[in-house]
Amino acid sequence: MHRKITYTFPRMGYSYAAFESFFKILGYDVMVPDPSNSKTLKEGVSNSPQGMCFPFKILLGQFAKLLKENPDKYFKIVSLESYGPCRFGYYSPLYNKILEDMGVTNFEVVNVEGIYPPWYKGVPRFIKKLVKLVGWHAPWAGVRAFVIAGWKVYAVERLERKFYHLIPREKVSGSSEKAFNRAFERIHHAPNKVKSIKKILNEELKKMDQIDHIDDVELPKVGLVGEAYMLMDYSNNLEIEKKLAYMGVDIDRSLWVTNWTLDRLLKTKQHLKHMKEVNKGYLDFFIGGDGQESIMNTILYKKKGFDGVIQVLPFGCLPETAAKQILSNVSEDYDVPVLSLSFDEQTGDAGFVTRLEAFVDMLKSRREIKSKESKAKKAESVTTR
């Protein structure tokens, strides 16, 4: 039976715009699942095994809602679960089983693996998987779709970074949010040409620069580490970045779609080197998920002069739970405060905001002490001279 295929995929925050255009360029229908909200979470939580990791519940809920609402379409669900001894590797068989038990059958799951060394085996296998996913296309069409989607991911990331940079500095509260939303919509619906994406990106970045803001302020700096999908999708982590930014914090997220795919799928040399040197004595081996990265990035943040680190930890995620215990040692050895926030299906954010606010207050008071100490030291050295 030949039915027209509709593609769907994990949202990954704002990057969904890029994935969407990838399939559109190749001439397929595509539907983006809703961001997690009370309905998708309910669907996911009530149908998943109770002890399953939270990202699985999120994704299952999003897909289940989409499939149920469009029973006349046939879906291909794209999954990227190529690594890991952690439960991430079982996602696609579980989707199959659970969705079938729920009585939904209009789908198939396609698992795209990363490129593993040695490359002469890895690359053909990767291409084989891609062909299975999108069917056979002329190579140039595939490459073109890849390049344009890549550019869109990059553009969205640049805009997002600018957005979080501007929020604590803007003079009129909310002005950068407006600018970002407009810019994102423009990139989202940009014509499929690298040139026009570049042009829109430059225009919008310039416009965002023109927002009334103060550039020379000293803000506490916070780095975010944790599980990739929780970090990258704003609807899963209760918009932790935006909340922190509005509290007047300079934030930096350690995992973006660009560096995540480049580091993990292509295994860049710098990444491997960092992993080996920085993690020495803490976590020397791969435990799946992003456990090793969490520890590595915490230490790297400290070395870059950040004031604190927040770990975004989905409830039930084994690698991150392991990393959490090790992070308390890291925190002591490197004198960097680490706040581990565990996320589950709750949407009430009162307790969560309390912890964030207290953490930010603490970072500010630590800063004051440090500046006092350094002043006292200076004064001392002056008098001793």
């Binding site: 809703d34 961001p35 909200n37 009370s38 309905k39 604590p168 509260s173 909310g174 949010e177 609807s235 918009e239 509005y246 509290m247 007047g248 308390s328 002591e332 405060p337 565990s342 949407t347 009162a350 307790g351 905001v353 309390t354 912890r355 606010e357 207290a358 953490f359 207050d361 603490m362 008071s365 630590r366 004051e368 002490i369």
Partner: protein, 332 residues
Amino acid sequence: MKELALGIDVGSVTTKVVFIDENDEVIEGLYLRTTGSPIITIKKGMTQAYAYITKKYGDVEVMAVGTTGSGRQLAGVIVGADMVKNEISAHAYAAIREVPDASTIFEMGGQDSKIIFIRNGAVVDFAMNTVCAAGTGSFLDHQAERIGVPIEKFGEYALKSESPVRIAGRCTVFAESDMIHKQQMGATSEDIIAGLSESLVRNYLNNLARGKELLPKFVFQGGVSENIGIIKAFEQAVGHEVIVPKNNKIMGAWGVAMLAKREIEITGRQTNFKGFKITELKHDTRVFYCDGCANNCEVYEVIENGETIAYWGDRCGRWSNRLTSKVRISKK
């Protein structure tokens, strides 16, 4: 005319209303049960406190208002707060004022417990209980009721015990079944209560301190610090004297009152306080699901005398931006 600052701490179980004078001393502190409706409790507390103060000082003027606790946002909108502060910072501020060289603060409230680490008068680290109710006042309250001992006498009972039984402290469910088992085996109420106090402290230190260095001086505050049995258990566990400050139950409200006063003094602003007339106004709250986009946010609306004074819960600002000037009180 007497100039005062007001601090309100709306906790999960109790609401605290505190008035302080120009020297930051507490002149009136009320400790009330929140019982379902924080708005009614706040108003009740303010009416009571107002009656007491006007009787004592005649005319008063409120120069600064601060709110804290899990209901701080709601309370802040209703009374018109100058400062809405999280309870960890508020508790730490009050504790440092009371015991300037404190290093470790234990705080146990109704629904949550925290540990705050202080070095040189500034917070350097903190931890708050996450998914567990063990080690909180509600659990003690529940057990007191089950054993049939009034919660006020809980501490005395614990002190009478000579050989406390060992009770699992990891989880309230296990603790309870363990207690029932020991009770059926013939242990006395005193021994069970003492054992429970010890296990509660053990659980608290395991969960929150997590092997971090505990340095004296220790300060213990929050509702549970009324319980002499728990104080003794803490002293045994840390091997050092544990100080319970004189305003132990209302430290959060006191702290935020001082913070709000300091804020007003530094910035020189006028207070946002709406006056004591708010106790006579009618307040309603409403919850609805926004249908603007796929997020389906749960939006809360606060209505004062038919006029909406606040929205929150929306991610995009569709609702909360409608009333910017009134709602966004010193968020930065």
